[in-house]
Amino acid sequence: MTTLVVPKRHKRFTGKKVSLTISAWTMGFFFFAPYLQMLLTALKPKEEITAIPATYFPKKWAFDNFIGVWKEIPLMGFLKSSFIISLSATIIVIFIAVPAAYYVARNNFRGKKLFLLLVLVTQMFAPTALVVGIFREIVKFHLVDTYLALILIYAAFNMAFSIWILSSFFASIPQEIEEAAWIDGCSRFTTLTRIVLPLALPGLVTAFIFTFIAAWNEFVIALTLTSSPEREPLTVGLTSLIGQYQVQWNYLFAGSIIAIVPVVILFAMIEKWLVGGLTAGSVK
């Protein structure tokens, strides 16, 4: 193995570079700081939480808060609800968005423009804007306080992102690859599942993660449609603790950290595809 030595210009650590680095790191810290505060509070023992004056760091690091939290608040129940709802909504979205995105990417058809417009408008409408109507509809369907109501609504409102992202991935796969498969006797369906989907795997992963997180983080609809604690997802369950007589901030934030960390890691994984999916319809 030969190493190619390229004569480099001498790296200069000029003042400009140093100040750039410092300002960027400071900015990064600023955005991280509230979550650091969340973590530090989660690691304080109960008596230090309400110490006056407040302290920055725990005097005694209460790592066992992350064990105690499971007993002190019904975290397991909240996690279970969030997980069932988010996963089901995501699976529905994938099953619905894949065929729609595939067809849109490969064909021109009458009403395509109208369909895409409808999808775009759906994306722009947060469920918050329609919550009054959604509540009345769900009452009519006798689905108040069920997982199913949340699953269906989250699926409907988050489908748009997946349709955009998947159709752009499908469109980037050369048609010739599919045609070769048809000549070999594959049906359109097997071509899709065996050839196209594996090639569009990054798109599928992105759609999956995005929908899951959107459902995981949703608040207004869950707040409105759930009434029994055992069906409350994390967002609603954790905030309901604030209203109670004595807020156990350390456990509240320990629960929040447990809810946030996996989501941030997943989100960072799909970051480079996000902007394209969220601004779809305008950025082509």
Binding site: F31, A129, A156, F219, I242, I260, V275, V283
Partner: protein, 295 residues
């Protein structure tokens, strides 16, 4: 190819897009229709429809003594938050784009408020702003900015400013990443050429980069307008729109009238007005995307 044609001729697009279409019609279009209809109905506090009300709900809403202030506040909220978000996101995007050690870590840090649940972010801000135990007072006193702790959320005007700060904080990540995506489309040689010409970086930015960023900025601004207008968890968690209705926007007001005051009809008329406002924003967005296609 023959198979493709055959596929097209019979049912066409329907088998492929029907599930998506059904979901949109049942869970997006229907609630919108239901909401608009309810705004013209007389609804009892149990939710039962008593009959048509004509414009009565809208009349009740207009006579609502809190409405004028809520409207003004909503305008300040939407335009203030979006304005500051855009202004701050421009340099943030530059910093995300520049080269320095640890850029990846800085990008990850900025992703956190975007990825994390808004409710939990709002909760920790409420805690940071706490009069007795909050870390903000601690920092301000250690830096000798304050002598006494302040109850940041006690006074309505002050707490509304903090709500806006939190809203800007959570809106910057998305916005700066959209601008970052726009920056990556600025051709490298254009930048180099202007440097050779001896243009200063500020001149560079104003004359060359900023015009190229305009499409991304417009898209980011419109999406932010809609998101900020619809924003709910920040206000709900930190002040609950209170005291009274003094930190409410039209979005939280519609929610409160419906689910706390049980006046579904009046709430639906507020929501219908909100709905119309969002439609206007969406129209702007569509216009922006058309312009972009042409350029």
């Amino acid at each position: 190819m023959a198979q493709r044609a055959a596929n097209k001729s019979r049912l066409g697009a329907l088998p492929w897009i029907a599930p998506a279409l059904v979901m949109i019609l049942v869970f997006v279009v229907w609630p919108a229709f239901e909401m608009l209809r309810t705004s013209f109905q007389e609804v009892g506090s149990t939710g039962a429809v008593k009959g048509w009300a004509g414009w009565q709900n809208f009349a009740t809403l207009i006579q609502n003594p809190d409405l004028p202030n809520v409207l003004i506040r909503t305008i300040i909220w939407v335009f203030g938050v979006v304005f500051f978000t855009m202004i701050i996101s421009l340099p943030v995007a530059q910093l995300l784009n520049a080269k320095y050690p640890g850029r990846k870590v800085v990008r990850w840090a900025i992703i956190i408020p975007w990825a994390a649940s808004l409710v939990m972010t709002s909760t920790v801000w409420k805690w940071i702003l706490d009069a007795y135990y909050g870390v903000l007072n601690k920092i301000a006193m250690d830096l000798h900015i304050l002598k006494e702790p302040i109850d940041w959320l006690a006074n309505t005007k002050q707490s509304f400013v903090w709500l806006m700060v939190v809203a800007v904080f959570v809106s910057i990540p998305f916005t700066s990443f959209v601008i970052l995506a726009g920056l990556s489309t600025v051709p490298h040689d254009i930048m180099e050429a202007s440097k050779v010409d001896g243009a200063s970086s500020w001149q560079n930015y104003r004359a060359i980069i900023f015009p190229l960023l305009r499409p991304s900025l417009f898209v980011a601004a419109v999406i932010n307008l809609i998101n900020v207008f619809n924003s709910f968890p920040i206000i709900w968690v930190i002040t609950g729109g209170g005291p009274g209705y003094e930190t409410d926007t039209t979005t939280t007001l519609a929610y409160k009238i419906s689910f706390r005051d049980q006046d579904v009809g009046q709430s639906a008329s507020m929501a219908a007005i909100n709905f119309a406002i969002i439609l206007v924003f969406i129209g702007l967005f569509l216009k922006a995307s058309k312009n972009q296609e042409q350029s």
